[in-house]
């Protein structure tokens, strides 16, 4: 039971990151390899703010602001000039951004992992199971964020514009949708979600280092692909699925060492059975 809750909460962190991947992918048609590192920047923003003023609420707001601005700046500086260029060029640039963010973080803060205490919620006991309150908080808030995002995309004009751009950029442009603004906005939202993920991450694991974002980043990317990249509900389902499977595997001693292998095998199996992921749309190549 407690494994399941742990898994759900880890899953919702993955889901938040995966949402960023999937939205950027759906709209800008690029793999934002630097997305995981936005999380890292979020954790350092929290670390610094906590050291300066000590109010968790301020730190969280700060993380969201810093990440959003960073996401937009990265998009403007590194990706926008390459719009229309070979996709591989964009991918390589994203990798460059990832290296850049990590090395800057290391130059400022050092490679040494640093403890970060945001809020210490403690734990509650129901009968025989002890639950971490922060886990429950993560679960609840992440659910609210995801519901909010879904409503935003479905109901608001901006959200529908995003959908339109992801469907067909050229047509959307002809319909008068400001495509560049929409793409920038997508990066902003994706990065804000990454900031939220960094908050939840610190609630689970109270430490940070310059490479803190790579592993969750790549796992979340996997989750996004499992769910069908480009699909928002897919990212949520994929993230939660992956989180639960990871925790369940880790709690079974015989499977524990093979957790990563199992997660990635799951990805391969799903892609082979359903080549566009669980909820991915299937389109046909024109002949």
């Amino acid at each position: 039971m407690s494994t399941l809750i742990d898994g759900l909460s880890l899953g919702s962190i993955y889901a938040l990151i995966a949402l960023g991947y999937t939205m950027v992918y759906g709209i800008a048609k690029m793999l934002n390899f630097a997305h995981g590192d936005i999380i890292m920047v979020g954790t350092y923003a929290i670390l610094t703010t906590m050291a300066l003023c000590g109010f968790p609420a301020v730190a969280i707001v700060m993380a969201v602001i810093v990440c959003t601005i960073l996401g937009i700046v990265v998009e403007k500086v590194a990706y926008k000039p390459l719009r229309g260029a070979s996709p591989l060029a964009v991918l390589i640039t994203a990798i460059g951004v990832s290296y850049l963010l990590q090395s800057i973080a290391q130059l400022i803060y050092g490679a040494k992992p640093q403890p970060v205490t945001l809020i210490n919620f403690g734990h509650v006991t129901f009968g025989s199971t002890t639950l971490n309150i922060s886990t429950l908080v993560t679960l609840g808030v992440a659910a609210v964020i995801m519901a909010g995002l879904t409503v935003f995309i479905k109901k608001t004009k901006t959200g529908r514009a995003m959908l339109a751009v992801s469907e067909d950029r050229g047509a959307a442009e002809l319909m008068g949708i400001p495509v560049n603004k929409v793409i920038t906005l997508t990066f902003g939202i994706g990065s804000a979600l990454a900031a939220a993920a960094s908050v939840f991450y610190l609630l689970q694991i109270p430490a940070t280092s310059p490479t803190v974002g790579s592993l969750p980043g790549i796992k979340a990317f996997t989750a996004a692909v499992i769910g069908g990249i480009g699909s928002i509900p897919g990212a949520m389902i994929g993230g939660i699925l992956l989180g639960v499977i990871e925790k369940v595997c880790m709690s079974i001693p015989a499977l524990n060492p093979y957790t990563t292998a199992i997660e990635f095998s799951l990805l391969i199996v799903i892609l082979l059975v359903k080549p566009t992921g669980l909820l991915g749309k299937k389109r046909r190549e024109k002949v």
Partner: protein
């Protein structure tokens, strides 16, 4: 892109030519131009284990400064350089080559065990003396007769811990260790052996270098234990302790010398109520004259309290200095191999002993060091 290829090929040609000239050098004469005795070492200055490397570097640098201030060895100064190895064996090997070619004459080996084995293997080939401050795995000093250490060996700590836990009357015992770290695995193996010998039963959990941030699974499995033995480093230990506390564990956390520095990982709000204690040869609050002199000097230079690794680094340099002094080394361009033979003979002689920040030490031909341990509790 084509343009880049072109530029690149030009640069490469230049580099190639430069490399050819640089490549020609006489292997024998690397130390010929030395004006100071060169002590080299590798250690993790970046990556997860960076704090140990940095501590050793600080301690060793302090020692070298003190020696030079006091006139060096017959008026010749020492210099110390540590290269980053990220606690990885391959990097330590590269670091060794760089140092050796830069004229290293004697060395502190590497800070961590895995890296030190790779460093030591090369050092043995060239017959370079090394005195590792903190690579405690048994295999390190088994590399050859050029290998020495100032720290405890892994087996000693594991055995001591098992005995201690048994003596304290704990029955519900948990152990967690880092299966990718030879120090951690070494202590664990010794602990297991001793525990089986004396009939102590325990539950075990492990983790590795790529899964050392999220401890909720292991913490969940060990949350009902009365005592958890944790033979690994403090950064991960702090995370494990926090994860355990979040799971409602009331266990005593019992660590090894790698725990030194754990106090800095907690703030007033997240310091758990559990007892945390560890084995260490070095107590920063000791009233011993040698220790307090070291602590004062360290604080004055770096503005922070030294940990055990800093003390080990300091002692390793001081021990080398004393050995060289006793051996009567007088030629600053002495080759590493010649210096090794002299230092070896001196340090293993029964009359040689050294007393420093981590107590009084003597060495035998195995390279192991005999000194006493204590258990410190974190308040």
């Amino acid at each position: 892109m084509k343009k880049f290829v072109r530029i690149m090929s030009v640069v490469l040609c230049v580099v190639l030519c430069a490399a050819v000239f640089a490549a020609c050098g006489n292997k024998k004469s690397y130390t010929a131009n030395n004006t100071e005795y060169f002590i080299g070492a590798t250690g993790p200055l970046t990556g997860g284990a960076a704090s140990y490397g940095i501590s050793v570097q600080k301690g060793a640098t302090l020692a070298v400064e003190e020696i030079n201030k006091a006139g060096g060895l017959n008026g010749v100064n020492f210099k110390f350089e540590m290269r980053d190895d990220k606690a990885e064996a391959a990097e330590a090997g590269t670091g060794y080559d760089t140092l050796y070619e830069a004229g290293m004459q004697i060395s502190l080996g590497s800070v961590t065990s895995g890296a030190c084995k790779s460093f030591g293997a090369k050092a043995k080939e060239d017959n370079v003396f090394f005195m590792t401050p903190s690579a405690s795995e048994q295999a390190v000093i088994e590399i050859g007769d050029n290998a020495f250490r100032v720290c405890f060996g892994d087996p000693d700590q594991g055995t001591l811990a098992a005995q201690q836990i048994k003596d304290d009357g704990f029955t519900n015992v948990g152990v967690i260790y880092d299966s990718s770290d030879s120090y951690s695995t070494g202590v664990y193996e010794a602990f297991k052996q001793k525990a089986n010998e004396i009939g102590l039963t325990f539950t075990e959990q492990k983790f590795d270098a790529e899964n050392k941030v999220d401890f909720s699974t292991q913490a969940g499995a060990l949350k009902d234990c009365d005592i958890v033995f944790m033979p690994f480093y403090y950064t991960e230990a702090a995370l494990f302790i926090k994860a355990s506390a979040a799971k409602g564990s009331t266990a005593v956390f019992f660590g090894c010398d790698g725990f030194d520095g754990i106090a800095g990982q907690f703030t007033a709000t997240d310091k758990p109520a559990n007892t945390i204690k560890y084995i260490t040869p070095f107590d920063v609050n000791s009233t011993d004259a040698k220790v307090s002199a070291f602590v004062t000097a360290f604080k004055a230079k770096y503005g922070e309290e030294p940990d055990q690794f800093a003390a080990d680094g300091y002692d390793a340099v001081m021990a080398i200095y004393q050995a060289m002094k006793t051996a009567g080394v007088s030629d600053v361009t002495i080759s590493a191999s010649d210096l090794c033979n002299k230092a070896k003979a001196t340090i293993t002689s029964s009359s040689f002993s050294y007393t420093g920040a981590t107590g009084s030490m003597k060495w035998d031909a195995s390279g192991a060091c005999t000194k006493s341990a204590q258990i410190v509790e974190l308040d």
